[in-house]
Symmetry: C2
Subunit: 755 residues, 2 copies
């Protein structure tokens, strides 16, 4: 045994001091926590206190020689660090004292430091050249409790649904030919209809519960089974059924809605054309009212005007066709008309031509096709006439006089689809993360030459950084989408324009996030992630198209940005516009005045972790981007540039605003939600998810904040290292966090995700 020069009082603090000084982990305010503890530690003699305090001067840190002495003292004790102990570092200190001294009580002061500073074994275990009895995961949090918080009021619906998914028809398997795959998915959809899930969002009279938020919640769960199932389900009940429900009137509901919910009537949603994807308003298909026969003639005029990529096109007997409605020679704009496309023998109706779209990157269980109409005649009643109708005298009528507004009102009823697509993408990201995390908790590769066992992938800092912020972001987006769907379904909110803007932005950032996350998971699982059996590959290919359909992400972000600007819109070219800018300018100036150097340079933990900082930073960005954007457009317009051209010139600025707005919206929605969590332990956990999300997002856009001098270089670095530190801090709970998504066990059957 070596001669030890430290008193018992000093000795017990040495592991803490070694942790503090061997790394640049603690900020000044955190060091002051330790000072206070030492001052209040009654077990310490005055001279011990003096020594310890003298080691806490950031301007004169202890010498390397001192640190080596500490290290030696620790190493020579051969005490094991046990991560799973309740206060591992404090317990370790106690054992160290026990080794060198007879008397070794447990010091409550040390425990307080450990708790208050949030020092976790992950932060220091690598510092000790000792064998660590390492637990693969911690049971500090209960994943089912987390799942309960996320499910919220949909708990019963979701739990029941997850049980239904246990049926053998939902077992995962590889189906390479589209015919076999499509047939299987069709049977799955029919099975769910039989269980009553098809009609869920419809009124009770048609077999449903009018529970759109519940529908969205189960929709995400479909992704855990298969992407094709989710999309086919969405096309049949959400798009086709939804168009009848929302664009049609009682006669349509009575005639079709129950059958649609029960899959007795299979239908498709024929909006997109080969020549018109994003620009739906410009579709070329015509629906011309013919007075003599009191019917509507649906027609495809040119070779690229066919309906394109229509899901369910090969199985359907009816299509909800979006076409330019022409009444008495006048184009009344895009309307939806129900067109029978097949008869009872499943033969094509006269004038209808359908072609298989063939194989796609993913979603090969969905039967996409092209549809042409050659002078197809349907009764006048087939017009979905909620927002525009032709009366018995053959006259067009709509309560919404402005054709522009009418078109967007019709499209607006479909915003629910965008929220559902984002939810589905999120479901894909969650499943991929769950698989990648479980793999990383099994897979070992490389090691320190002194150890026998190789290290778990999950114990590598880079691996933690790759997965943890994404794990946290799923919480943020889950809560946000749930909230959005509540507002969308709230009938008391009549003007849905705001939610349209929000859904457009969120759909974009969340589907991109999902794609990036799944890609990261694929790479994080190495070659194993590339095998279809491990189910990341199919998620990747299925979710890929979510960035395109239900609105291309770029187009949607431009739409969102224009929505944000819309409050100025009516003011354009008028004196009022300048007034609005001035107002916004002054509010910005107010905000700017608070950004003094102390704020810009503040790298303290409490500040960086505070939601006040995050909210301010996000709010500042949105406002600043809005203001500068409006200024730029105004300047162009003042110089005589047409507004269409002016908008083209600021496209990248619009995209930046759309993203910034959506991230702020997600963070704010999530933070508000966390405040409603009653259990403090879980509230704090969720808030930590929000913190890592916010800091990670700020980090990604650090160049913008630095350009604006909103943060200093030092603060930017501090944000980066806090993201790394939080990723490490959450390492013991990472399994619980992905289990908290509540993905049913029977859907987690990828070989690499099983023990």
């Amino acid at each position: 045994m070596n001669v030890i020069n430290y008193t018992q009082g000093v000795l017990q603090y040495i592991p803490f001091f070694y942790v503090i000084w061997s790394d640049d982990l603690l900020s000044y305010s955190e060091i002051s926590v330790i000072k206070t503890a030492i001052h209040e530690d009654e077990t310490l003699r005055k001279d011990d206190q003096d020594i310890l305090i003298s080691w806490l001067n950031p301007k004169a840190p202890p010498k390397d020689k001192e640190l080596k002495n500490w290290k030696k003292t620790i190493t020579n004790s051969y005490i094991k660090l046990v991560e799973s102990e309740v206060h591992p570092l404090t317990t370790f200190c106690q054992k160290l004292v026990c080794y060198y001294h007879a008397d070794c009580p447990f010091n409550v002061r040390l425990k307080d430091i450990e708790i208050n500073l949030g020092i976790q074994p992950n932060h220091y275990k690598h510092l000790f050249d000792l064998e660590v009895v390492q637990e693969i995961t911690s049971n500090h949090y209960d994943s089912s409790k987390i799942d309960l918080i996320l499910k919220g009021k949909h708990t019963t619906v979701v739990d029941d649904f997850r049980k239904v998914l246990k049926a053998p028809i939902f077992d995962w398997g590889i189906k390479r030919t589209k015919e076999e795959f499509r047939e299987h998915v069709l049977q799955q959809v029919k099975f769910l209809a039989k269980e009553g899930y098809g009609a869920m969002a419809y009124p009770e009279a048609y077999g449903g519960t009018e529970n759109m938020p519940g529908y969205a919640a189960i929709f995400e769960n479909l992704m855990y089974v298969d992407g094709s199932l989710a999309i086919k389900f969405g096309v049949q009940f959400g798009l086709f059924g939804g168009s009848i429900q929302k664009l049609g009137t009682k006669k349509h509901h009575d005639q079709y809605l129950t059958n649609t919910g029960e899959t007795k009537l299979l239908g498709c949603f024929a909006m997109t054309e080969t020549g018109h994807g994003s620009n739906v308003r410009g579709v070329k298909t015509t629906a011309t009212y013919h007075k003599e026969t009191d019917s509507i003639i649906v027609h495809t005029p040119g070779k690229n005007d066919n309906k394109e990529y229509i899901g369910n096109a090969l199985h359907s007997t009816m299509a909800s066709v979006f076409a330019q409605l022409i009444v008495n020679g006048k184009n009344e704009g895009v309307h939806a008309i129900l067109v029978p496309i097949r008869n009872k023998e499943h033969k094509l109706m006269p004038g209808v031509t359908i072609e298989d779209n063939g194989y796609k990157l993913g979603l090969n269980g969905v039967d996409n096709g092209k549809i042409w109409f050659h002078q197809v005649r349907v009764p006048r009643e087939n017009l979905l006439n909620k927002y525009g109708d032709i009366n018995a005298n053959g006259m067009y009528h709509s309560d919404i006089k402005n054709p522009n507004k009418r078109f967007f009102t019709m499209l607006g009823t479909l915003v629910g689809g965008r929220i559902c697509v984002a939810r589905a993408g999120l479901g894909g990201a969650k499943k991929a993360l769950a698989i990648a995390v479980k793999h990383a908790l099994k897979r070992r590769q490389f090691n320190d030459s002194i150890k026998i066992q190789e290290d778990l992938l999950m114990d590598y800092p880079t691996h933690q950084l790759r997965l943890t912020p994404a794990v946290a972001a799923c919480y943020v987006y889950d809560v946000t989408l749930t909230h959005m769907m509540e507002i969308y379904s709230d009938k008391s909110v009549v003007d849905k324009r705001k939610i349209e803007t929000q859904a457009a932005g969120l759909k974009s950032i969340i589907t991109w996030f999902s794609n990036n996350t799944i890609q990261e998971c694929r790479e994080a699982c190495g070659g194993k992630g590339y095998l279809l059996e491990n189910q990341i590959a199919n998620l990747k290919n299925d979710v890929d198209i979510f960035t395109t359909f239900e609105g291309d992400n770029h187009v949607l972000l431009l739409l969102a940005a224009k929505g944000i600007l819309s409050e100025f819109k009516s003011e354009f070219n008028s004196a009022g516009f300048t007034a609005v800018l001035k107002l916004l300018g002054s509010r910005l100036t107010d905000k700017l005045s608070t950004i003094n150097p102390a704020y810009t340079n503040n790298t303290d933990k409490d500040h960086l972790y505070s939601s006040k900082f995050h909210k301010h930073a996000f709010d500042y960005r949105t406002r600043r981007l809005t203001y500068t954007l409006a200024m730029r457009i105004r300047d162009y317009v003042k110089k005589g540039i047409p507004s269409y051209q002016a908008f083209l010139k600021v496209q990248t600025h619009l995209l930046a605003l759309g993203k910034a707005y959506s991230i702020e919206l997600a963070y704010t929605t999530f933070t508000n939600f966390t405040e409603t969590i009653e259990d403090e332990k879980y509230r704090q956990l969720f808030q930590k998810m929000g913190t890592i999300y916010a800091l990670h997002e700020l980090r990604k856009d650090a160049s913008w904040y630095l350009e604006q001098r909103y943060i200093s270089g030092t603060k930017s670095k501090a944000i980066r290292s806090r993201v790394e530190r939080l990723s490490t801090e959450l390492r013991p709970h990472i399994k619980t966090l992905v289990d908290g998504y509540g993905i049913p066990e029977h859907c987690m059957n990828a070989p690499i995700s099983k023990n």
Copy 2:
């Protein structure tokens, strides 16, 4: 006709002034170019000059009212802007004068401004509310000339090969079952062997031309046909054949090499194990020398020790097996041994078990499998004995005494594979870009309400920004990889350690770039990009795994970073290390001293476009990251933290260094190459590619440069807008630029890429 207040002299400049002031496009130094031109314009009267000069004061720009007057003057003329004219803006000015005045000569001064400032129609045509006779593409550059520059000395080899690819066996088609797909790819490989391409990199005695650089050049072209073909080809001739060629000796060459090149012998490269992917050195398979029978017994000890993911495993009759060689009870480290795995009837040899890996995300035309060996006996001669041998007396011998060095020498011979994988990824990116660009030059969506035709996707600034920097990066990486392969193949360079570091880094950044690019192309093509027939989907799935195989990108970047640090390695823990740091520190300080505010704030075009600036910025980053990294590691080590742990703590720093180093390497290699291009017009074009690459890369890492105060916020914004401007500037040439890749017409058969 309106009353016009401008003299002829002033009028001719008005379109230029409108372009200058309606946007913030020109920097001060560019404005001074105009001033000079005005002063030297002899056609101008003194008072005209005074008016024009008065409009050039950046501190007192012309009033909006003035701009509106200019605009009106232009609009009222109804003159068409013809983009394809030689000096469109000057010609436009002339026509404008002709409209208002009788006399209207072509003004050479204006032409000079147009040329010197690089003002392109894309920068201003949106400013004129006039019909633009717009050419979809320009023929200013000749794509075959570009292709010639890229092919360089491999022109004949590549051109011949591209002709071979016209054979019907290389026609593209969808094959959904792995059995059919694999069989087809096998026949393609045999076809190429028959044409002599299999043996290409082997010595002449074995049917080749020992042309490794040529092999790499044709390898990229295989990607234009199909990813599975490229990989299967690479496994058979590059990995299996390469292991015989480079790790074996004459007896092996004589016995196997000719047959391998002719595909009479099909083989696989059995290195990776289920339990050991990245950590190859830890493979568990044993090869134990048995003295009595003078043979080697190859054995798989545990359940996860099987060879995994072995390409060509189902078609091969022989495997090059990497195993721990044990001679007289001593483990001599990993060596390769040739093991027959099937007999002439294609039945498995005794003790060999092979399982199909099944379906993968992509590359389903490659037959990957798992291989187990149960006490499989092969003659001692089957040891590939170039770097380590067992003599007739059963004694192990190697000229490389250090087992560590021996292992890395063996692996080093396989560096060529990494370069080829990067090349293949690059080929995928090129083809995806060519498809996306051609689609964007056909596809129209949305328009200004006053126009009849919708706008081409390629005319949207965001679309230009999505594709153009990637188009340019392909040029940079193409040239870089060609150069790397030259060095690698240069027998006069004995120490390959540097090229190993470089290949590791480049493989990582280029395969990531390829994946990101293909993803961007998929999204840029919307739903059409999702259809298999349009061939982006399969590229995406095939190239995906390139980030993992031949070395996981993260692991390779860590390797590269450690390579960069290796010059300090022997100095660790010694006084010498400090000296090295001091030296590096002083060099950095020198560099830092040049970064005065004038440099940090310099947003002038000439500066931002100069390769001197780019080189300095890249060099600064690499040095700074190296220095701070070394300092951090030193500090940890000084505090007693074991170096393995210290390296773990700086993992993200290592990754950043690996990337920074590789980007600098690519840019420097490319820039050096451009100086050798004789034709000035093409040299300048290539240099513009280098400029957009450099600025785009600086932009991506702007937060780091801002943190370091290497650039100011203003400069960061200027870099961003220069990337956007260059992307727009290259718009007329974008088709020529992707045609310059030289992808054979018969490989560009995706429906959306055809006219």
